[in-house]
Amino acid sequence: MARGLGRALQTVLAQEGPAEDLEIEGPSLANARRRQVFRYLCLRPCARVGEIGRVLGMSHATVRWHERDLLENGYLELDGSRAFPRGLIDPEDAALFALVATPGRSALLLACYAEPGVSLLELAAAVGLSRQSASKIASELSDLGLVTLVEDGRFRRHYPTDLLARKRVANGPRAKAFAEALLRRLADEGLTPEHLRSDESVLVLRFGSASKRVVLDVPLDPYVTAWKSEP
């Protein structure tokens, strides 16, 4: 029986692989910070540069620099000023993701899911916004079909729709194809990716050179994570 399991486990836990650059020039994802930016945009497509910088501890300029590289290399696509991973979402939904990634929108949507039929006053109190701001955001969400507004006497009630759930189901094959394309792309770039684990919400892979390999978990379920993971 081979010995050394404990020592090996200790080594794996001590290493900081995911945050390390690979000693390879060229492939976009060899850069640790770029991997973080890419990963974040898979989690929250169309997230603002400011948000990405704040969460990942990078300056706006650094985030923009990595976004530009990922765009030039076809990892990302652009809608207006917002970037999202190419092939992970329906490009038609970029506006929806951009809205959800705007501060306060996710919180309001979550409040509607938590209490379907919630009134405007309750909604404003739940998310800590003025009545006017809550009303404006609710209208935006309603325009995109995420929330239905129902007049109920003196109250305006807010019901979440199943739009995101339907889009999520419809996106399953696209997310799977995205994961497969990513593995192929890394292989083409000579990063010899190993597929470690995947399900409908995440792809975990390891790649790199013979001397240094890193693990990356790529979120694959943006129709859930985009609005449930607001920082």
């Binding site: 029986m1 399991l5 404990g6 190993e194």
Partner: protein, 289 residues
């Protein structure tokens, strides 16, 4: 299932000979109940048999655990550490949960078939690494499923507040582990008594009754009231087998039932009487024609 001795005095008879190899056990108890002592006993027993031991500490630092083990009289663990047969790993709950998510599958693929003893003490910070209950269940389930491929795993779990195992921090691991042991412990000096109870144990007979325990220097946890010399009897299954012969059941049904009764003992029947079981069998097969 191969049994390995647990290292806890009095526990093996309650588990039909010991812990199932390559299984996962969760030990639940309040602070001071003896969870870390039990985990150390479990690891140390494996070391004595030449098994590797890995102690993942997510709360106390390793120096503290080693010091407590030495104070308990188990200074031999220092030799095992020198020989690298025993490895202590300090990690935070977040680090360890990241490891589970990202590295564990590859690690298990590399070390599959090892027969180490692995203790994770306590599992609680891993659960707290995520607030979402579904994610907690996914994470813990995945970890338990994977780690048992490389050894026999024992995780401890803190119990807060009431000690009736209904706390949210205990429910998820209880469902997912193969074996669950509860160390019920009272801090009041007047009582200061502990009771160990096996809540469940998959693929093994086990004694569900609570048993008092003491923590004794040099020995660790010692259970009381465990009858290790009780003869194994099989009167009830034998009587039932005889009764089946006289009831004109179809041959294939009788043969299937006889096969099911093979190896059963009176303990499996607990308080059930063979005549009661026979009535139910007849109802079942006569109702079905």
């Amino acid at each position: 299932m191969r049994k390995i001795t647990s290292g806890i005095y009095g526990l093996n008879p309650l588990l039909d000979g010991g812990v199932n190899e390559n299984s996962t056990t969760v030990v639940i108890g309040r602070s001071g109940a003896g969870k870390t002592t039990l985990a150390t006993q479990f690891i140390r027993r494996g070391l004595q048999d030449g098994q590797e031991g890995v102690f993942v500490s997510l709360d106390e630092n390793k120096e503290q655990i080693i010091r407590e083990a030495v104070e308990m009289g188990w200074s031999d663990i220092l030799d095992y550490l020198d020989d690298e047969l025993l490895v202590f790993i300090d990690a935070s709950g977040r680090e360890f949960s990241n490891f589970i998510r990202k590295e564990l599958p590859a690690f298990v693929a590399d070390w599959k078939g090892s027969n180490a003893r692995i203790a994770i003490d306590p599992l609680t910070p891993v659960m707290w690494a995520t607030k979402d209950l579904y994610e907690q269940r996914d994470l813990i389930g995945f970890m338990l499923k994977q780690t048992r491929k490389v050894g026999t795993v024992l995780c401890t779990l803190e119990e807060h507040g009431v000690t009736d195992l209904t706390g949210p921090e205990t429910v998820i691991p209880m469902y997912l582990a193969d074996c669950v042991i509860h160390l019920r412990f009272d801090h009041e000096p007047a009582k200061h008594k502990g009771e160990l109870q096996i809540i469940k144990c998959r693929n093994s007979r086990h004694d569900p009754e609570p048993h008092p325990y003491e923590i004794v220097r040099g020995l660790g946890i010692v259970l009381q009231g465990v009858d290790t010399h009780r003869p194994v009897t099989a009167k009830a299954p034998s009587q039932l087998r005889q009764m089946l012969l006289t009831r004109g059941l179809p041959k294939d049904v009788r043969e299937r039932l006889e096969k099911s009764l093979e190896g059963l003992t009176d303990e499996d029947f607990r308080s059930l009487k063979p005549e009661q079981v026979l009535d139910l069998i007849l109802q079942e097969y006569q109702a079905g024609g």
